[in-house]
Amino acid sequence: MSRSVVAIAGNPNCGKTTLFNSLTGVHAKVGNYPGITVERREAALHLPDGRDAVLLDIPGTYSLSARTAEEQIAISAIAGLNRFQDPDAVIVVVDGTQLARNLYLALQVLELRLKVVVALNMCDVLEREGVAVDTDKLSEELGVAVVRVSAIRGDGIADLKEAVSNVLAADGVSHGVVQRLNGTVGSAVDAVMPEIPEGWSRGDGERRAALATWALLSLDEEDELWEVPEALRETVLRQRRLVEEAGEDLDLQVVSARYQWIDGVCARVMGELPGALRRFTDAFDRVLISPIVGFPVFLLVMGMVFEALFTWSAPLIDIVSNVMSVFGESLGAVLPEGLLRDFVTDGLVAGVGAVIVFLPQILMLFLFISLMEDSGYMARAAFLMDRIMKAIGLTGRAFVPMLSGFACAIPAIMATRTMERRRDRMLTMMVVPIMTCSARLPVYTLIIAALYPAPDQAGGKVFGFFSLQALLMVAMYLFSTVLALVAAAVLGRTLFRGESSPLLLELPPYRWPSPFSVIRQMWERSRLFVTEAGTVILTCTIVLWVLLTFPRDLALSRDYAQEAVTIEVTGVAEGVPEDAIIDQLSVLGGLEDAERLRASWGGRLGRTLEPVIAPLGFDWKIGVGLIGAFAAREVFISTMGVVYGMGDGVDEETVPLREHLQAEVWPDGRRVYTPLVGLSLMVFFALAAQCMSTLAVVKRETRSYRWPVFLFSYMTGLAWIASFCVYQGGRLLGYC
């Protein structure tokens, strides 16, 4: 017997996810619906009759009508349209405290002639408030089983499973409960019915009518639905025009008829809800979304998220890096010296390290996002920020990802999934990488410290008060923020145009987040990152290692091995102290590494790039550094360390590296690193999409190579233009 598929559908915030977790336990398989960025979760469901089923989570929705490909998932997955598998049964989760609106979805599911069980959730709240619900009567009205549950308390789970077993074992399927419309609208449905593909209707007349109604409500001149037969579309548009010409209102009539039925049934099965049902939520909301306290509280919460990403995750990141370097060293000690050892320590271990170093921030951000989502605060944040974010063409929900971008673009891009609309998600993903992430800081620190006077030096103070270095750092932050907002405004009016979507937001009651669901979120996000983006990052790290390491059999200018022997032999013979010998050897080693790097494919690439980057004031050595920075921006520093023959152990605080930058000259004797070049380089780092991990995550989140390629091209193009303007403009103004 093949495993039955049970779909679970419901309104947003109806407790569907909690119920999903209670029904299935810990293990869920998370993937994507085919060809789209909507997440697909499924998990094993063990039924009391011994049957093994798969529970498929349908994205939360208020209706099956759809205009976008994302909204279309619900109807496709429930009705098994096109490439989607037919579910054997459907659980519709209905929030008993908002019965009417929740039943609207249930009615649409019933019309599709499926094996349906309705789970009446929040029964604990109804009991506490003394609201009686006549479940038997409701079941009779709907024609399907209705089971009382409380997803939060885990009540009624066994009953629900039993009802699912029963419905799977029985033959009957649901019927629509609302009477078919007469008149022009009814004729329109009749006219569309023959165009419903046989594969959709399965030869069932009632289902055919339901899908015809769905098509009439969903299709219009500018919908973005997939795999809708052209003939169906044309008929729907023609029929809609006919209804309009007859002076009737199709959408209104269909929806009103459903609500009329619902209002009648609600009055019969359910007692009056006490007005005080939301007293806690209302009390909180009076503070949390009031104009005077709401915004400061929001800023405080955001400050905490920011602090967590920046400060609290730092020790964890240190631990991860230390463990990886100890691991790399111990592997290096075991393996014989040579190419294999270099590959394992510099390629493989470094690559794995490059992946897991993001985990602390991902965990931290999703801890906060889960807490905010599950408690209901995220909706309030969207409510408060809507006006500001709309002004730059984004939604209120884009605020958290944008802010997180200051720490790291990787978790920030993953956080865009709290946005429902594809346009909003894509737009946010395309601008978040411009925000000044923490990996840019070491590069700015190095450049500013090396090329600009410190406060105690001449010219180090602006207006005799502000430190020039500190001002530059602040300016870089401002620059990136303004540019990100400008990019959002421009992209939002061009590439991601689309109508600005009106706001329809539900502020759900506040709830205690369940620790289980929070931990589950954190775990699932991290696992997806490691398995999917991680493989790309690892591959890129190894490719970069190959680029900067090969070819090996070079004709070197000096016989480094022979010189090393000479240093040791003569040193020992002349009684030079051991430390001094080691120092000389490491200087020699650094020079050899530098020569090898220059001759490597990466080095040659840097030289090839020189004509392209020369107008920005960069020489080929900076070009090599930029190639290295593709692994992660801060790698620029260690790559420059190797380029200048100082080994890769340097960091932004290394004084000799700063001095080396200051001493570097072009063949004609001009200094390479002038303050103007430093500014041009910082501007380039601010804008260029030179972080392969970001590109890997965008690839994973968009399921396409198109968007990472676009992101890389537009940001790097912008970086080149901006640096060009800075450098050439500066020269015209007489700076050198």
């Binding site: 208020y62 609207y104 709401g294 329809l504």
Partner: protein
Amino acid sequence: MSHLLLSDLSPGASGVLNRVGGSRAYRRRLLELGFVPGTHLKLIRRLDVGNVLEVELRESRVSLRISEATVLELVTEETS
């Protein structure tokens, strides 16, 4: 009885929905959330700084932009 727009209500005031306007997509979503003519609406709060309001209908709450709530026309049941 007098006609007015949802965006004109002050917190605590209520009315019966009379007409739903707006672009087709927005209108359909409003209807499906229960904004059908004859529905009783109550304004819970409005945040003019944020251009948003929250309205209660059939036990559920929905937030709209004040500037977009102009598509919902009400008949008030004035008690004064």
